[in-house]
């Protein structure tokens, strides 16, 4: 008996995040002209996955590791550890769930570079500016809505997703 799609996708891993980010970006690019709201929805996830993948690379998580499982001797999974750090960085503004908090993940990437002993990201101001622009216009709950975005809103999210895609390797190296 073949497995269903939801059973086949398996656990979340760094490698899958990177591949999915590439696929969602390609899909979003095809929607930009005719379905801009759908494009924004997918591009936000592209940004989110790149930020998460960059952090997991900096944290030394291997490509095929299930990010919801602890890496011994840690008691908590890489995902839990990351989300705890985001809550600390975001302070009182941390939401109950920080999984889709673009700015929180971006700040974590910056923090993880420090912990990994890497120099400050050369383009850090530009990086944070793009992520903020995306965060002001994207939330995972867009899927429950059917607004028509302004051109400026679409452009800001497209620019952010393109920047993060183009500079992805710089985030973790």
């Amino acid at each position: 008996m073949p497995l269903t799609l939801t059973a086949r996708i398996g656990p979340d891993t760094l490698a899958k995040l990177e591949r999915a980010a590439t696929r969602r970006f390609a899909e979003a690019s095809r929607l930009i002209d005719d379905q801009p709201f759908g494009a924004i929805y997918l591009l936000g996830y592209t940004v989110e996955m790149r930020l998460k993948a960059a952090h997991y690379r900096l944290a030394g998580v291997s490509h095929a590791w299930n990010i919801s499982h602890p890496i011994p001797p840690n008691v908590d999974s890489p995902r839990m550890l990351a989300e705890r750090q985001i809550r600390s960085i975001r302070g009182a503004a941390a939401q109950r769930s920080v999984g889709h908090d673009l700015l929180g993940w971006a700040q974590l990437v910056i923090e993880s570079r420090t912990v990994a002993g890497l120099p400050k990201l050369m383009a850090q101001p530009e990086f944070l500016s793009h992520i903020k622009d995306a965060a002001l216009r994207w939330t995972e709950s867009l899927r429950y809505h059917a607004n028509k975005p302004y051109n400026e809103e679409l452009e800001a999210v497209v620019k952010a997703a393109r920047w993060v895609t183009r500079n992805y390797s710089q985030l973790w190296s």
């Binding site: 750090q85 009182a92 939401q95 109950r96 700040q107 910056i110 101001p125 944070l128 995972e140």
Partner: protein
């Protein structure tokens, strides 16, 4: 050239104003609201400044103002890892103002909305008007409770409510 000079002048002015604010108590709700968070590693500071005065500055220019002002006040401390500047409305959109004080006035309170609003002007925070209703928002619980004390002293009354709003990630 004129635009560059103007931008530079604005940068210097805002840097000086923010420098003075950073010298003060960050738990006070005076504008700009400043939030200093630390990473769990304890190695770095993430600074957030909420201010409408830099509405016309780019994100990058705002960060530059924060870094310069921080250096003037804390020259012997590590440079903040992140310095982010947002306006009041951006802060609301990004969830940076989860604390809210609003007056809940009943007819029996014998208090006018105008009188309540006059007291609110002195309480600091980011003012948000929706229709006839005015409320003030804060980034931290300490800022909100300090504003609450100010309101109670300006207008001692049971009308003031302090609400923490923390929306769930999923809304449908």
């Amino acid at each position: 050239m004129a635009a560059a000079t103007k931008k530079s002048g604005m940068h210097d002015l805002l840097t000086r104003l923010l420098r003075d604010r950073l010298k003060g108590d960050l738990d006070q709700p005076a504008l700009p609201l400043v939030v200093e968070n630390r990473a769990l590693s304890g190695r770095s500071i993430h600074l957030l400044v909420i201010w409408d005065a830099w509405r016309d500055l780019s994100n990058i220019e705002r960060s530059s103002v924060i870094m310069d002002a921080h250096a003037l006040v804390h020259d012997k401390e590590p440079v903040p890892a992140v310095a982010m500047g947002v306006t009041g409305s951006e802060a609301i959109s990004l969830g940076y103002l989860p604390f809210r004080i609003a007056p809940l006035i009943r007819k029996t309170d014998g208090l006018s909305l105008a009188k309540a609003e006059k007291a609110m002007q002195k309480a600091g925070g980011v003012q948000v008007r929706a229709g006839n209703a005015l409320d003030i928002r804060f980034a931290t619980h300490a800022q909100a409770t300090n504003a609450y004390r100010t309101l109670q002293s300006e207008l001692p009354s049971p009308v003031w409510t302090l609400i923490e709003e923390r929306p769930a990630a999923e809304t449908a």
